[in-house]
Assembly symmetry: D2
Homo-oligomer: 494 residues x 4
């Protein structure tokens, strides 16, 4: 058992995996100009463990004194959750708001599996909990990267898995095979798909009995035969002046196709126990909403900073409406922090495993808060930075001697900021909020780690309605109702 | 030294004070049909101390074993602030979202005075700190109620105190007198003014040297000669069906006129040290924003509950947009809690006194969050409850046998809820969000405990801009700037 | 045939009708201190006809030279709709944003009946059109006031009329009787119910065959035996300083109970033709949404003016955020005008009758626009006017010599505005946006003349989706689809 | 005099102009892969004149029977403005929401010059009006394209032109020369700069006497010596599946540098008459806000259509919150139309020239409405289309036989829509709202044709405050004030 170096992580990716980018097979993802950016960001999870400043946060020791990544700790206290949250935040800050994500999401999945496997075992006589635990130890020992692999392609959203025109539109067990199962289907938007070691596959929703075959959960290495990964793509050009962030850090999603892939039994964590598909998806959300809010906090910081730098460069940092917008952005950023930390302070303990998970209402609220207000934050930053964000000359114009003088002369802003600094600040703003990456962030704010609708549903499901109702009945002068069971209990009973 | 009973508190108000309500002198505020509601709410602060369920939270002991109200503890740890926050929340829950306010706001003022007096003494050679401490002990010993008395009537808001047409539009020292000072002016919107024991008077803003005479802070009993109190008023009718909350709990503001009132020296805490007027106002805000968010949380709970009861009564609790609105209201309520608790967890310690105060950014954010979203919350509740909120028959129609049958028959909603329950629920909603009290809450959400503009300014003043800027400079590829002093240090240096 | 005087209108209300206010029978609504305010506002529709300034707008002539109210004209051109809209606006301006409503809503109902009756007759062989036309001529001749009487009490909103626990929760035909039908049920929120001459009763929603008996429309005088009216009520005190608007103008809703009321056949306009209940409700909405936006425009003007006066009284009219809010309020008001006028310019002609009705998308948009933004407008006004709106002394304090001096001295604001003016301006703001009336306006903005949900549904139903779709298909490089029928045609075909 | 063909327009651009794109000199803008897209869009203004469907709208005739572009008509009636608005809308619809802009903005500038030149001549004894008129006739005769060239680079936004560190940060007259003037400076964000025939240069703001030299307006051909144009740029790849709109239509801005350019006197329309700089900028805004709202309407239509197609492709078109969002988008689009048409219906006539211009309040409101709600519209579309917008495979993946099968199988959505159609629809959404172009539209919604702040200021300046105030004074029971002059008169008097 040992922590891997970033280099070991990179080398582990040269494993024959099948990855496509813009229609071309990629032989070595660590050498591909675009995928490399994602690989390097993921490697930050490994760098943190080597960095004396962060090692205390990132690394734990087994009772035997073996070091392992904090991400692989099963949380048993609010403190555990708070430190895990802080670790997510730290990696994201280094990567300019991108989570390194080598282990963040995947370990959320492992934690959810650990809780639900115990419940499934208790109810169904299965023995998943020990498989999950064995897998967790494998991850710890090998210090692997692992990707949460959850969202199915879904086909017609108004139909259940088993009702789709093509039965493969949700990942499903096709049949049993000797010592394992064969699965088919595809998962979409899988972050780090092109450069993860392992996929941790969870069902994406609650299932009915008819959807039994879709109630599968498993983990599998990325280079397993039958797996094909088609990376998301976009326009790309070299250069870190025009695109200072997106050419420095990234996370790359992929469509992960499972073309009759064999999953050995010890890697199967749910197999037809359809009643547990929903709770598993929900428990993953409990963990993952907070991971989301954790990595968004440094991005929000960056928005505040970019807005402030732009205001100073434009000479408008003392204008009333500009200050108001900066203050709003500060409150936006810090409230993300406050609400996500609250979900840790108010951690809920699972009675069966003793593991804790973030308070679901606070967790959903933290993710909803940043997502629902994100477009307003973007608007504020764009408003402050000015129209030049849309029309700024490129770094080529800056470098070409024929155009440099004009660009430098006319990019001048406040006397306190050089034209070059202003030029770079404007490009930073453009990259953050008015580029292909800007669009990516808007869309993923709404959809990644659960949509706004999912967070409302999650909140409603876990809200302590009896408490609110009792307060209102008392105020209306109505007799206290016989105490109803708390929403969460009621939830558990179904 | 002893805790007072609610009855002792009530009796203490029959002290000759000069109070007017709707143009009439009120001889005994505890017997006045409207003011009584406020008195009874204030008394809840005293009831809490007698209630075994809350005594542990509400009462502390001196080293000598004497009990005293937690409100009079100078906070020295995040835990102190969290418990104080919880105590505010508890009283407010009992009073349906109204803070009892016998001590809440006044003790915020005493805490702010304690911190700033030390700084003023250090800088100016004054000896206010010991006066404040003596006053605090007096409050503890006598278990007095105390009202924060801060907002001046202000006249023309574009002019400073000394520039007003009438010099009395901010409270000021008129002259020195033997053993004290004479003050004149008026403070507006003073909560509990008609039924507090003491007024704790602070300057409402930063002062320049020209405004020296306005830089006064002091405390004085409500029945001191020269003090006249004109209570706010409104339409009022008996009955707790039509107005179940506002006829059961309240806080009543007053215009407090100081007509050449003598303040003995030991009750004077600032007297011309104009540089400390701004810091004093700001420090009070640090404490008071969190008090505000604390008492609003139970009110937000009440809104959630009222909306849910109304949805059930109307039979629409399963309609998608209704659930969405309930979920939003839940997140609204719980985020108020999260952000205000964060301000306590992240408490700042004053180096001179060792006292702690809530993190100013989080504190401002918590108050801003509830206030800025309040009208949206109201809209959601109104939307769910339906137009009947505006046109519901009155309890007189319910009681009159001639009309009762029609009202009962046609107020029917869902089969699961009786017409009487629905009738009361609709009146609850009306009282909360579509009545004179509803208007009061909208206006005070915006203006009490600081306006939205004040919270933005407070946030901007305390925001750690160097941190945000550094993040953005790194992202833009700009060299790190020589570390600027943190905003709060810079602030202190001025 | 002749126009009635306001006095004739008032006298016509002393007709034995059964009206209750706060549980008491009201013998003469024109003499009741609260209902009188509504009566006087309704009378404005009659005053306009006598006022030389407005007579040209308010009065038309029959070919025979007989004058009649414009409200009773069946509109046949955009110009007709624009003038009708202007007439609504004019009456509302006089009544401070309350529509007089003697004829506004009722004539919307008559217009809708005229269109749908023709379609029903054509499809079902009925002969309603001539009954409606005869009724219209009766209204013209007698110059009657008429109230739209539509919203049922509805019971459980998740159930259809015929599914309710009590079959009377929607107004229904109980049985036929000699020469007419007997109806039972109650209509809620009926504006002017206590002081209208006629009720024009429409079904409130689309009906299925099972709901056949609920598909009834008819008109009936308010004093018909079996009709009982319970007026909405609230706290009330004399005086037009504290409540300058709501004690000067009003509209009073009532619960209208039909206790086995006989409706003669010539007053029955729908009787079981359930397929036409939905189209009738929808056609009424087409007309009524625009009436709503028309009367709200003067109220929005009033909000702008009140905010501006308050800003000036407070001396903050040059503060940036105040100007921004005033500008926003101006755009709010004027956009209501623009969108509602657009619904008239783009009038749709009914092919069968040649009558025109406002464009449904624009009509819904105009009402949605003012309603969806109303709470934001309120917040802006409250923000500008300040906390004093919640705590201002009453006119009794102003009048009492003991308190007058204090109030006058300390209500002073900007030097350009007297304390008395500021005092009145603050009370105006309170009355508009922070009183029982303020709550009434918030709730009715959301629910009267259709809820936000209803306007979204109405927009969706009438949106020209094929046009939008075609634009997007062309942009996506997709072949043009075979032209689908326009939404409105498709609608008509059902 | 004759209309030019699109080909003649294209050929006219091969005129030796100095254009740079990504640091490289572009010899022929009509052949450049990116600039060509802009050229082709601009050519649509010429194609419209040849298209029998639109010729009646696009082409007018002189009294002598010579055809000319409607854009060059000086508007003299609301009808003129409505048709002009419609023509802008029509060109934009063809170009997927991009205005062709060969003449749209430039003719707004010419109209503003015509009005203000007359006022300047009357006040200052200049003779600009006839120069403007001669220039207009030149444009008509030669059927030239003309670009509004207004926004200066501005340097430090807190300083006036004459206070800047570099005097050239606003375009200025450097000196007189024989028969003309020499100008220096740069204009930013100039739409169509790389491919316009003429630049029409206006001052960007009001000037004080110290800024006299900056009060210059003129027109000049794009290939005049001393003019250099640096085009805005971005990532670009061929292909109209991934970027169906932005690779088919565009408008390309440029930084236009005036390096001591000679302007002959007959092309100079303002030269030091600093009092008219502000009115000129304001009058241009009056015209241009409406042009902006006109071309945005088809873009809004496209958003509605794209959202609807995406909903259908995903099988969620019947989900309540999806329908609500579509309905909102429809109201968004149609309200843009309504308010911008209202600005034409309510046209204001200039007393001196008889020309009309759009009502300033409505014009500002129409632009503000679309801009202020734009991010919300984007959010709605993104929410409906789903996360796949961020992670969709590229057209290369579609075309490569190795990946095609996976992409086609797993892009399937609703049975009613082929995978290929869904794939293209998703890319359309991405191109519109989650790409570099999406960022461009967000930023330009806020900043092009005036910022939100500018529209608020414009509204405030032109609002009829006396009317609103009078309404509120009457409501408050205050005596009518002596009639103040209307805001617009007061404005004119300055």
């Amino acid at each position: 058992m040992a922590l891997r170096t970033p280099e070991q992580f990179r080398n582990s990716l040269k494993d024959g995996r099948v990855v496509y980018y813009k229609g071309r097979r990629v032989e070595d993802v660590t050498a591909h100009p675009v995928l490399k950016i994602g690989v390097d960001s993921s490697a930050v999870d490994y760098e943190l463990a080597e960095n004396p400043e962060f090692r205390g946060l990132a690394v734990l020791q087994t009772p035997e004194g073996e070091p392992y990544s904090r991400f692989f700790l099963a949380p048993r206290s609010p403190e555990d959750l708070l430190k895990r949250r802080k670790l997510c935040e730290t990696g994201s800050r280094i990567c300019f708001g991108f989570p390194p994500f080598a282990k963040e999401g995947g370990s959320d999945a492992v934690n959810a599996l650990a809780v639900i496997a115990a419940h499934c075992d208790a109810a169904s006589g299965t023995a998943y909990a020990q498989r999950v635990e064995a897998f967790r130890r494998h991850l710890m020992r090998e210090d692997l990267s692992i990707s949460i692999t959850m969202t199915d392609v879904k086909g017609d959203r108004s139909l259940r898995p088993s009702e789709q025109a093509d039965p493969d539109l949700y990942v499903r067990k096709v049949r049993r095979a000797e010592g394992g199962i064969i699965v088919r289907g595809a998962k979409a938007h899988i972050t780090t798909a092109p450069y993860t070691n392992e996929f941790c596959v969870l069902p994406t929703r609650a299932m009915s009995e008819a959807d039994k075959d879709y109630a599968v959960a498993f983990a599998i290495p990325a280079n397993t035969p039958g797996i094909r990964i088609i990376a998301r793509s976009g326009p790309w050009e070299e250069g870190t002046v025009d695109y200072p962030v997106s050419n420095s850090a990234s996370m790359v999603e992929g469509l992960v196709v499972f073309d009759d892939v064999f999953i050995p039994d010890d890697r199967v964590f749910l197999d037809g126990e359809w009643k547990f598909a929903g709770p598993l998806a929900a428990m993953f959300s409990n963990y993952h909403r907070v991971t989301a809010a954790a990595y968004k906090y440094p991005f929000a910081e960056l928005l505040v900073g970019a807005a402030q730098l732009a205001a100073e460069a434009n000479g408008i940092e003392r204008v009333a409406h500009v200050r108001d917008k900066i203050a709003w952005l500060v409150m936006y950023a810090e409230s993300i922090l406050a609400i996500s930390e609250a979900s840790c302070y108010k951690a809920v303990q699972d009675p069966l495993t003793g593991m804790v998970y973030p308070d679901p209402v606070m967790g959903n609220a933290s993710k909803f808060f940043f997502a629902d207000n994100y477009h307003q934050a973007v608007k504020a930053v764009q408003d402050i930075a000015g129209g030049i964000v849309a029309t700024v000359p490129s770094e080529h114009d800056w470098r070409n001697p024929e155009t440099r003088a004009d660009v430098e002369k006319y990019m001048a802003g406040s006397r306190k900021v050089s034209a070059e600094e202003r030029f770079k600040i404007i490009h930073l703003v453009k990259d953050l909020v008015a580029s292909e990456m800007g669009g990516f962030w808007e869309v993923t704010s709404l959809h990644a780690e659960g949509s706004l609708a999912a967070e409302r549903l999650g909140t409603y499901a876990h809200a302590d309605l009896p408490r609110y109702r009792a307060a209102a009945r008392r105020a209306a002068g109505l007799p206290e109702k016989q105490k109803e069971p708390a929403a969460s209990e009621a939830h558990a009973q179904k």
